[in-house]
Subunit: 401 residues, 2 copies
């Protein structure tokens, strides 16, 4: 069911829903006893939820596809990530919590190194330090253009955010990053007539930036890619009739939540404190998206034991969540991050759904292989989780007479 | 696979197929031993079919979607219910077995109450009795329009069917029901130029009806909604090459079957008698849709034990069905109606398929949780049942060389 269809069926109810995302939850059986991280973790509280609820594994994007954090979360939120795509420039803005306005054009920039002939010798400027990046960004912030305002923000190491604000801007501009060494940066090219003005402004900016950076090898030039504008998507309120909030500490996840119209609360670090914040705001919202990052981080570190510990840490906070007496709870991840791979992966992600209208299945522990036998099946499309949550919250009307 | 694709693959064979629909079959584990209605029921004959056949659970419309009876059955018949939608006016006509002709415009009407200022005070006219409705409909039947014939039929309580028959009619007309109190009924508005003539006729009818109903408070006015024309869909014969009949007692299900070109036989009440009728007509048809209503009715009553009894009653009739030696049998529901909810629900529906070409699975009893492990999986799209039945009846040609 696509979002337009669900939108027509949404109805209101006095029910509360919590989506707890343990980032990168899914793993691979590379542990001591041939177990995955989740299987190895001692999770009595999550297991109790599974016994009362239903379980399965969801596919965030599709078979074999490894999701980035943006698509992973958009799928959980019911927005088909292959249709609702965010440009890299917008993601960069979300990542530093830059308050992108409708009409702004954002791009992801890299400091890079040019040789005397103007050929790219390092697309990442020797990965300069973030401090050095900040100094160089100060140099660039003074650049003035005729007809648009420029914003520059340090992201990390060689990475920066470039934003143009003004009338009639358009993001249909090709990347200037040649994605190769020994060639010149690409010219700024408008892909459509409507983007020509913007392309001229970007070209003017890059020219001036090149002058200012001239003496600063290895960071003596800029490459840009992923020109994009903030998308105009339905909000959670428009799509589902839900007052929704995000309780997430990392800018990226707060940003994705903002794109779908969630309020972003200033989130504390621990899961207990996040649940306490949810308790405080319980009457103000119908839907709580609560995010825990370190499960993914430890997976990316390739540290099996540390990922197990992060999962066990989440499990210990579950009683605080259930004390809120939510009508519907989903616990899952936005993708898998097996310690074995030390990066995001394509593997389906364990998911449990708990409500009083569950047709409980035989799954008794929350783990990848146990979930295969669950009522949600081993390959549930991730975008079906929101309709299922809404149904269990009695927030979807009957279709047809 | 959509219907167009299946249609191209359909081929003839000398095989007989039976689809037995136990309306509202799926339930929730609210019974004495934590069982669902179907799990609690003693169903030795259905269990025997499951042991020889394959099982699973199907999703009539999609994840989280609660189907009405129309969409639920259309899905079983292989017609994607999100694509093949029936207007409320047509459903009202089906419900009273009005013989809607191509070109007729039908609407669902409500008697309602207006105060002295012409404002709606009760959209259902105090739910007048069906007898009173019949008297009032007689008043309205005499209304004559210039250029179209009018048909009025009592549905139940405050509900009636309005049908306009004539040349060049069009159903693109907005509802006159304001869906609110304290406001006037909405004017009759044509949504397209092609519907203007029809809108004038409807407005003229409503004006005359208002005059005739003037002294009959609380039913002193009419509201109309769901203007619609009979759809022109492929028939079972066109889509599948099947001579199909419906053996169903309730007008609604007979009506939906008619929409897809089935003959509707005058059906007896008990399942044994329905199977006897099928036996009588065995040579005349290839496909028998046989419908049992009370499983749903008892679920809607919220009566767990009575729903169990209705399922057991169906089970007892199964030997009579199998004596006919059908090549393919499917037993399922059009949606779930858990006694716990006392209404239709979004939960997947147990299904079994029996033929001599089944790759039997490990499921040994017909129940929601047992079916999760079946060969059809826990979330089979409902529209895939018809292609599976056709295949098992050796009625689908090889695709490609």
């Amino acid at each position: 069911m696509n979002l337009d269809f669900i939108q027509k069926q949404a109805k209101s109810a006095n029910t509360k829903m919590v989506m707890l995302v343990l980032d990168g939850l899914g793993g691979l059986p590379s542990g001591p006893n041939g177990q995955t991280e989740l299987e190895a973790a001692h999770t009595p509280n999550l297991d109790a939820l599974v016994r009362d609820g239903i379980a399965g594994l969801h596919l965030p994007v599709g078979a074999g596809i490894t999701p980035g954090s943006g698509p992973g979360h958009l799928g959980l939120f019911g927005f088909d990530p292959t249709r609702y795509q965010v440009g890299r420039g917008v993601l960069a803005a979300l990542g530093v919590e830059f308050d992108l306005q409708p009409g702004d054009v954002a791009a992801r920039g890299n400091f890079c190194s040019l040789d005397e002939d103007g050929l790219v010798t390092d697309r990442r400027a020797g990965r300069i330090s973030t401090e050095r990046n900040e100094e160089l960004c100060k140099l660039l912030e003074g650049i003035e253009l005729d007809g648009a305002e420029v914003f520059i923000r340090t992201v990390k190491e060689h990475r920066l955010l470039f934003v143009l604000r003004g009338e009639g801007l358009n993001a249909e501009i090709a990347d200037t990053d040649p994605q190769a060494l020994g060639v010149k940066p690409l010219d700024v090219v408008a892909k459509t007539k409507a983007a020509e003005k913007t392309a001229r402004l970007v070209a003017e900016f890059i020219e001036k930036a090149k002058e200012r950076l001239a003496g600063h090898h290895p960071a003596n030039m800029l490459l840009m890619r992923g020109f994009a504008q903030k998308p105009t998507w339905p909000t959670f309120r428009e799509a589902y009739g839900l007052r929704a909030c995000a309780i997430a500490s990392y800018p990226m996840y707060r940003g994705v939540a903002k794109l779908v119209g969630m309020d972003t609360l200033h989130a504390p670090t621990t899961l207990e404190d996040k649940f306490a914040l949810a308790a405080e705001k319980w009457d103000d919202y119908d839907f709580f998206f609560i995010h825990k990052k370190d499960v993914d981080s430890r997976g990316e570190d390739g540290d099996f034991a540390a990922k197990v510990a992060a999962i066990e840490n989440a499990d210990q906070a579950i009683p605080a969540l259930m004390k809120l007496n939510p009508d519907v709870v989903v616990v899952t991840g936005d993708h898998s991050t097996p310690a074995q791979l030390a990066e995001h992966s394509w593997h389906p992600v364990p998911v449990l759904l708990h409500s009083k209208y569950c047709r409980t299945d035989e799954v008794e522990t929350f783990g990848e292989r146990a979930c295969i036998r669950g009522a949600l099946g081993p390959r549930l499309p991730g975008i079906e989780l929101m309709p299922l949550m809404l149904a269990n919250a009695l927030r979807l009307a009957k279709f047809g007479a």
